[in-house]
Amino acid sequence: MKILVPLKRVADPDNANKIKITPQKVDTTGLQFKPNPFDEYAVETALRLTENAASNKVRAGEVTVVTFGPKEAETTLRAALATGADKAIRVDSTDDALDGDLVARALAAIVQRDAPDLVLLGKQEVEGDANQVAQLLAEYLGWPQATFAGSIKSEGDKALLVGREIDGGTMNVRVTLPAIVSVDLRIVAPKSVQSMHTKEGHAYSDGVRFAALAAIMAAKKKPLTELKLADLVSDTSLKIQYTTFEAPAGRKAGVKVKTVEELVGKLKTEAKVL
């Protein structure tokens, strides 16, 4: 199976409360770049789908990672190559010059050129929190979309059985390849991904894999191609334009109560919510 994984770097999400906001921009200076967690999960999912977990040396298929970003974003691509991805593409751009629609249209062009069987994306990129690229891409390609995947089982190389995490529970759908899948948090649980190459019931260790030092060195030699946005789409105009930014209303810490009696008292007489 040939899999394409769009991957973006984001300012350290665990310190998102340290960003500085001016009306003109959100300043993330001082925060380290990390791969968008959902995209790391998508890479892990792609690796699980294309290997025999008992001997994950040979890739049964091909995993390509792609990012839209500046030169420095290649660090994020190299890290994905080190964990096992085969090839990388960087489409030269900056966040200001992109919106989800443009990313989706450019991805559609890459898909038409490289013909993957599956595009695995994160369900959301945690800076913009938009949750849209997978769905837009699916429509632009005329492909099915299994969004918010918490589990995936490959049925030969023809179809995927996907457990979608929705508000009311889990919806299981079968998509015929080629297809778009966006992954949710639980996809990296030990038994969430079952591929045809791995013995049924195999349990991975929880979360994403780390790269060995040798693999990090080897990743430096893996192919990384650079593309221009204009090579992919003729119209690079944006459909969304930001005008101003603002900080959310702060919330102050309240009081500590000593006993449950005191708590119930306050909820009744002070907060009046009981």
Binding site: D129, N131, D167, V173, L185, R251, V257
Partner: protein, 316 residues
């Protein structure tokens, strides 16, 4: 301005989340119609005729029996041709469907909108970013616009009287994508409790509850008529089902009372609950970040404090 509200239907009823999308339509100004689509829509449509919509459009058809974006999008896009703005709520239903509709219409899409205003002759949308640590005001450059709205930020619209005419619409032909997705099954735990998006009170539990998640929280939730929520760690560990997750990437809630029990208060969790009116935290670690947003904090072992709280509440 003419807005099309896509209703969300479940079990033959219009979900309350739809009322938030109607609220958006009223605030955006101009006229609006409602499209009720999918199984049970004919039955559900009658519930939504008293909200001041120009029309209530109904699309119920054998091709639309399962809630799949690939199947709904062609019909929604066809109906949307006559409207300027298409809005639905940013539930899993809306987030799945709306971008697909936007792409069909070559329209710009703004997700999870928290506020709308008229800026000159254009609509400006405020949306949360960076796990709710920033808001950005944006506009859509295309004439046609698609948005999803955050349910917790748009107070559910109340009926305004009148009787909108109900009209049925012919479903659009399905395209290639629809033929390549097949509904297999829905695993949904039936619960008597209110939906997280609608609950007045939410009792939410974290990793600390372990296998006793339900045993400890259920009596409290029942007593308070509350919905039950959970942190990611509790869901990942299997103590609570995934659909209970509250946070940046789970459900975003703003009840009158949110009780966080054994939850540390990570950024991603706070993003989903810090607009709650009153927040209570019970945690044995006095330095847990959850206390920085809690109106009332109780430093205690939850396995002692929660049963004691239940007893205290029973006293009335």
């Amino acid at each position: 301005m003419n807005t099309l509200v896509i209703a969300e239907v479940a079990d033959g009823k219009v979900r309350k989340s739809t009322h938030s999308a109607i609220s958006f339509a009223r605030q955006a100004g101009g006229a609006f119609s409602v499209l009720v689509i999918g199984p049970g829509s004919k039955h559900a449509a009658a519930e939504i005729t008293a909200f001041g919509a120009t029309k209530v459009l109904v699309a119920e058809d054998a091709s639309l029996v399962h809630v799949l974006a690939e199947r709904f999008a062609p019909t929604v896009a066809a109906v949307a041709k006559d409207f300027d703005v298409v809005v639905t709520t940013a539930s899993s239903f809306g987030k799945d469907l709306a971008p697909r509709v936007a792409a069909k219409l070559s329209a710009g899409y703004a997700s999870d909108v928290a506020s709308v205003k008229l800026d000159g002759d254009k609509l400006a949308y405020k949306r949360p970013m960076f796990a709710g640590n920033a808001y950005g005001w944006c506009s859509i450059t295309t004439a046609k616009q698609v948005v999803t709205v955050r349910q917790s930020e748009f107070t559910a619209a109340e009926p305004s009287g009148g009787a909108s005419p109900i009209e049925s619409v012919t479903p659009a032909p399905l395209d290639a994508a629809a033929a390549r997705v097949e509904f297999v099954s829905l695993e949904a735990a039936k619960s008597e409790r209110p939906d997280l998006g609608e609950a007045r009170v939410i009792v939410s539990g974290g990793r600390a509850l372990k296998e006793k998640f339900a045993e400890v929280l259920d009596p409290l939730a029942t007593l308070l008529g509350a919905a039950v929520g959970a942190s990611r760690a509790a869901c990942d560990a299997g103590f609570a089902p995934p659909e209970l997750q509250v946070g940046q990437t789970g459900r975003v809630v703003a009840p009158q009372l949110y009780v966080a029990i054994g939850i540390s208060g990570a950024i991603q969790h706070l993003a989903g609950m810090k607009s709650s009116k009153t927040i209570v935290a019970i945690n044995k670690d006095p330095d847990a970040p959850i206390f920085q947003v809690a109106d009332y904090g109780l430093v205690a072992d939850l396995f002692v404090a929660v049963p004691a709280l239940v007893e205290e509440l029973k006293k009335g």
